[in-house]
């Protein structure tokens, strides 16, 4: 059995096309961030990190949703495919969310004057990060593959339902959530909006690309492991 055959999505051309499209969009997004988007009047150049901040947080949210949906599918269908999807998505989501927190902190220091504050959005992001961490820990400590898959799927579902409640309850105490730009933040320069959209699209593709590659590696690992026995 050839290992490559274990990946049901492995169409060489599509893979290449996705790679180049992602690369082009990321480069374009970076260029637009630095040269196309106008400098924000109040915050200055530091605001530019926000495009990447939004990109990572958006992709992390998509990743978390993928984990949730794949987990439901796994519980219903019990095919390993869905578990692999959920796990790989969680791993990438964790990476993206870590980047979100780091870029957010870098932005917050000059603008808010602090690296961190317990604002509802930050609290929720932090808890989402912890939930991802526990999800990955649970997988490493659960035992057999079937149990691991089932337990982590259940945890992911409960965590997904929990998160909106966390957000609502975090808003009780400190409702200072600053809307920097976007809906509710007043007018936004069209050039900024275009940059944001390109970056968001770029990160979405990056997520899909990483996810597919991670699934491929995972399938190879499984194939090697089963062949080794």
């Amino acid at each position: 059995m050839k290992i490559a055959e274990t990946d049901p999505f492995s169409f060489k051309e599509m893979r290449k096309a996705l790679f180049f499209l992602t690369f082009a969009l990321m480069v374009l997004g970076t260029w637009m961030t630095f040269f196309y988007a106008p400098t924000e009047v109040v915050m200055g150049h530091v605001q530019r990190i926000f495009y990447f901040h939004m990109g990572t947080v958006w992709a992390a949210t998509v990743a978390f949703t993928v984990v949730f949906v794949a987990s439901i599918y796994y519980l219903v269908k019990e095919t390993a495919k869905w578990d692999t999807l959920a796990y790989c998505s969680a791993e990438i989501g964790m990476l993206l969310l870590t980047l979100t927190i780091i870029t957010g902190s870098i932005w917050a220091k000059p603008v808010w004057g602090t690296w961190w504050t317990w604002d509802p959005q930050l609290t929720t992001t932090f808890i989402l990060w912890v939930l991802y961490a526990v999800y990955l820990l649970l997988r490493s400590g659960a035992g057999g593959r079937g149990k691991k898959a089932r337990y982590s799927a259940i945890f992911a579902i409960v965590a997904f339902v929990d998160l909106p409640v966390v957000y609502i309850s975090a808003r009780i105490k400190r409702g200072i959530s600053p809307v920097v730009f976007g809906p509710g933040g007043g007018g936004i320069d069209p050039a900024m909006m275009q940059t944001l959209l390109v970056v968001l699209l770029g990160f979405t593709l990056l997520f899909i690309l990483l996810l597919r590659e991670r699934i491929r590696i995972m399938n190879m690992e499984t194939a090697l492991y089963t062949r080794g026995r």
């Binding site: 519980l75 808890i127 912890v130 939930l131 526990v134 820990l137 649970l138 400590g141 659960a142 035992g143 057999g144 593959r145 079937g146 149990k147 089932r150 337990y151 799927a153 259940i154 945890f155 579902i157 409960v158 965590a159 339902v161 929990d162 409640v165 966390v166 609502i168 309850s169 975090a170 009780i172 105490k173």
Partner: protein, 230 residues
């Protein structure tokens, strides 16, 4: 319905005869209160919010201690397999377990509360029964339902993982953040003597949390304990 009560009765009977969990929980809570008192240097000027935080940390830590035992007890002599033989939906088993855990945790909280009032609020001027104590107890029950529902659920998961008891707080703590925020908030508002309207929203969230997670957990319990070999 009958089965839920049977499991409930069985658990309380086991506890009544073995007297393992309940005394441990009480002493543990007492020790936590002592530690908090020492850490605060026996001060008497602690504000109400801190006091509420202390009491909830005590409740949750000692509660989780009991919940951790809830399913590891069933593992002894493979009792859980026999529990699964009851010809009813698995969610009944969860609800029975939830009920017995709830009663145990709430009873221990009722024991702890007077002591806690004694240690932390010794200079409070006559707390009124109707305005403070009863609402406080009510919130305690609601908050306890919140964390025991998830605690019971994940206790049955944690005992089957390699990390066992270490896994339970990891699974439960991040999920019960809303319970902690709302319960502590409402309790401190009650101690401050604020009107119901001031904390009604928190109370609503707490009630919603209880309903959502009792339902979700009893729904998912079926998947949690599939008796496949692994």
């Amino acid at each position: 319905m009958k089965e839920i009560l049977l499991i409930f009765r069985k658990d309380l009977l086991v506890e009544w005869r073995s007297k393992q969990i309940f005394p441990t929980m009480l002493i543990f809570s007492l020790l936590l209160l002592l530690i908090f008192n020492v850490a605060f240097e026996f001060r008497s000027d602690i504000d109400f919010h801190t006091i509420s935080a202390v009491v909830w940390i005590t409740f949750i830590f000692s509660g989780l201690l009991a919940l951790g035992r809830s399913f590891s007890l069933e593992k002894e002599n493979n009792a859980f397999s026999f529990l699964l033989l009851i010809p009813v939906s698995r969610s009944y088993i969860y609800l029975g377990k939830l009920l017995s855990n709830l009663v145990m945790v709430i009873v221990s909280e009722i024991f702890i509360l007077p002591l806690f009032l004694l240690f932390f609020l010794f200079d409070a001027k006559g707390l009124s029964l109707m305005d403070t104590i009863l609402p406080f107890l009510g919130v305690t029950v609601l908050g306890t339902i919140g964390f025991v529902s998830l605690g019971t659920f994940f206790s049955s998961m944690a005992v089957n993982t390699k990390l066992r008891d270490m896994m339970l707080p990891l699974l439960v703590f991040p999920l019960i953040i809303p319970v902690i925020i709302t319960s502590v908030g409402v309790c401190s508002s009650i101690l401050e003597g604020r009107p119901l309207g001031y904390y009604a929203f928190s109370l609503q969230i707490l009630v919603c949390f209880d309903i959502i997670f009792v339902l979700l957990c009893s729904l998912l319990f079926e998947y949690l304990i599939e008796d496949s070999g692994d």
